[in-house]
């Protein structure tokens, strides 16, 4: 091989240097790529770390949420029937049938169309029965207020007809009803619940929050309180004309009588309200006593109306205008009886004196009325007022005896006064000595020039000759 010239040597050295440098720069370039890859991987990992850290931070909150939800869903589903309840459903329905009085003719478990809702299996039943409106309402309400959730999905009612031979018997309607409920399946989806460490202690700490979250769900219920004197809206309320074209009981006349009596009761209630405000107690109770008498008469009238066969058609207005106001009045009058405890000792003593004055003056009827008014308001006391009341009662009995005595026929023709012996009086044509019995209750006690003293039912009564 020919020897290389200097130029060639220089060129080859330069080229070799260039190649080696190029290879080095190639290596640098490759390394930079690797660095970029690594940095990109680091960025990716950093992102994941950031996410993972964020998740780590969220763990306590998520654990808390899961515990609250788990506990509450567990609680919520208690409103739903469990599989055991479903097996007993026919028994349950039978019990509600008995309680409401409906006549169940068909009970069919329906095939549920449409999907069940996740972990909640849907069950539907169709019921056909005969019932009065009020039995139906009660039956439906028993389902709706049942401790396990049941929804009435639909119902249809066809009005029954009135039996012409027995027009006042309750009319039963044809009813069909579809009810629906759900059963919870916790294992739905096949996923096992996450194992949360120290679950029970965490749950105990969250007890308050679990309770608060539980308030989010509430199954509303309604309590049906019954007929309340309302008419069945599925019965023709018009009345039948009699053979001669006239109704046996004209409903307008019945309604007029109800309204008339209602007005009387209303007036009596107004009178009671006025009497309540009477400042003088004795007059107040005298008025209450009068109101009681009128109340008894109105009550008797109300009972008369009750005998009407067609009253059920007016039962709501009868109840609203007569029964309820009468009950209110009775309760108010009773309350006044209770409130008589408010008699003070001074008032009682004042009335006792008044009664004594009346008896001394011979005003027996006023004394009797005063006592009866006070007695109606209540005169039973366990303190020292009781003694005063007892004295008043004794005076009242004396007044009664005196009044009875006044009605006796005692014709005194003359007396024989013997200052040192037993005097004699001629009464109703017969001669009696002091101490003689005129009849079983009446004795001649003492004979004086101006008057004769009798003992009648234990009460001394002086009578002018």
């Amino acid at each position: 091989m020919a020897q290389m010239s200097e130029k060639q040597i220089m060129l080859s050295i330069a080229l070799s240097g260039l190649v080696l440098s190029g290879a080095s720069f190639g290596g640098v370039y490759w390394t930079q790529g690797k660095i970029a890859e690594e940095q990109s991987a680091i960025e990716g990992i950093d992102g994941k770390i950031k996410q993972a850290k964020a998740k780590k931070v969220r763990i306590p909150q998520d654990e808390k949420d899961v515990i609250i939800l788990r506990e509450n869903v567990g609680e919520y589903v208690k409103i739903l029937p469990d599989s055991g309840d479903l097996s007993n459903y026919a028994r349950r329905v039978n019990s509600l049938v008995n309680r409401s009085g409906v006549n169940l003719t068909q009970y069919i478990k329906q095939n549920v169309t449409g999907k069940s809702q996740g972990a909640f299996g849907r069950y539907s039943y169709s019921l056909t029965f005969e019932a009065t409106l009020w039995q139906f309402m009660k039956f439906m309400n028993l389902f709706e207020s049942h401790k396990r959730f049941v929804a009435v999905k639909s119902f249809s009612l066809t009005a029954g007809s009135v039996d012409p031979d027995n027009p006042f018997e309750a009319v039963r309607h044809q009813i069909s009803m579809v009810i629906e409920t759900y059963v919870y399946n916790q294992a739905a989806g096949g996923k096992k619940p996450v194992t949360i460490g120290a679950y029970n202690s965490k749950r105990d700490i969250l007890r308050e929050e679990i309770y608060l979250a539980r308030k989010n769900i509430k199954v509303l219920k309604y309590t049906f309180t019954g007929e309340k004197h309302r008419r069945d809206i599925f019965i023709d309320p018009r009345f039948e004309e009699g053979a001669d074209g006239a109704s046996v009981e004209n409903p307008r006349e019945v309604q007029r009588r109800i309204e008339e009596l209602g007005n009387e009761i209303s007036a009596l209630l107004n009178r009671y309200e006025k009497a309540k405000n009477e400042e003088i107690m004795i007059e107040r109770y005298a008025e209450f006593s009068e109101i009681k008498k009128v109340y008894s008469k109105l009550r008797a009238k109300a009972e008369e109306l009750k005998e009407l066969q067609t009253l059920d058609r007016h039962s709501l207005i009868y109840n609203n205008k007569i029964v309820l106001p009468l009950e209110n009045l009775a309760a108010a009058l009773d309350k006044n009886r209770d409130s008589a405890d408010s008699w003070t000792l001074t008032q009682l003593q004042g009335n006792l004196e008044k009664m004594q004055d009346m008896l001394v003056d011979g005003d027996l009827i006023s004394a009797k009325t005063l006592y009866e008014t006070m007695r109606d308001a209540g005169l039973e006391f366990k303190d020292e007022r009781g003694k005063v009341a007892e004295i008043m009662e004794v005076l009242y009995e004396k007044a009664l005896a005196a009044l009875e005595f006044k009605s006796l026929t005692l014709e005194m023709r003359g007396v024989i006064l013997l200052p040192k012996g037993i005097s004699i009086a001629i009464i109703n044509g017969k001669t009696y000595q002091e101490g003689d019995a005129i009849n079983n209750d009446l004795y001649l006690k003492e004979v004086q020039r101006e008057y004769v003293v009798f003992l009648y039912k234990g009460v001394e009564i002086a009578k002018r000759r």
Partner: protein, 214 residues
């Protein structure tokens, strides 16, 4: 001209690398050394540092992964239980209490016993808990009114619409009376009555007042 050197080898002048060649060699060596040095710096210093950082971060990530997976499982379970909770709430809140609805309706029809304003009764009634015109429950009744006075029908409509609690979930046009006809029933007092169809359409359960309050 050609120089011929006839001197023996030991007397000849020693051949030396020329300065140019030497310069070239030195330049090449420096260039190669620098480039190799730079490569070494980039690879062993920068790359290895980044690689070490990546390995370190990976270790951090590996330590956090089980916690993240635990949280993911919690989130999934939360979503599932939230769905269940929502479902049961939907089930509970979408129930229409027919006893209450019917009880209030009976009150309206009875009108406290006042039959002068209207006296209605019904031949049948159909109700559905959903699927009505407004997406909620609906009631349809074949109604009768004891009178041939159409004003009584208007009174009845007014009383339905005037019962605040009854219509709280029924929009204004959810109460419909699509006309009617006067029929005569001999033997009854009054013999004339108005027969008509009464439709009551409730709002969807999510719009019920009771659910809005929650």
């Amino acid at each position: 001209m050609i120089n011929i050197n006839l001197l023996p080898q030991e007397y000849r002048r020693r051949e030396r690398t020329s300065f140019r060649v030497f310069g070239t060699i030195m330049a090449s060596v420096i260039a190669v050394c620098c480039s190799l040095g730079y490569f070494g710096h980039v690879y062993l210093n920068e790359f290895k540092a980044v690689e070490a950082k990546r390995i370190q971060q990976q270790e951090v990530l590996d330590s956090l992964t089980p916690l993240a997976a635990y949280d993911d499982a919690l989130v999934k379970e939360k979503a599932e239980y939230t769905r269940r909770s929502q479902t049961i709430q939907d089930i509970a809140t979408s129930r229409v209490l027919w006893t209450k609805v019917l009880d209030q309706f009976i009150d309206i029809v009875n009108n406290n016993g006042d039959t002068a304003r209207h006296l209605a009764w019904f031949k049948n009634m159909n109700s559905k808990a959903s699927g009505g015109r407004f997406g909620g429950p609906s009631m349809s009744l074949n109604a009768m009114l004891a009178s041939d006075q159409w004003s009584r029908q208007a009174n009845f409509l007014d009383d339905i619409r005037g019962h605040q609690e009854f219509v709280q979930d029924i929009p204004y046009d959810g109460v419909t009376f699509p006309g009617g006809r006067v029929v005569k029933t001999p033997g009854k007092t009054p013999p004339k009555s108005i027969e008509f169809r009464l439709d009551l359409q409730m709002r969807s359960s999510k719009d019920w007042v009771v659910n809005e309050k929650r």
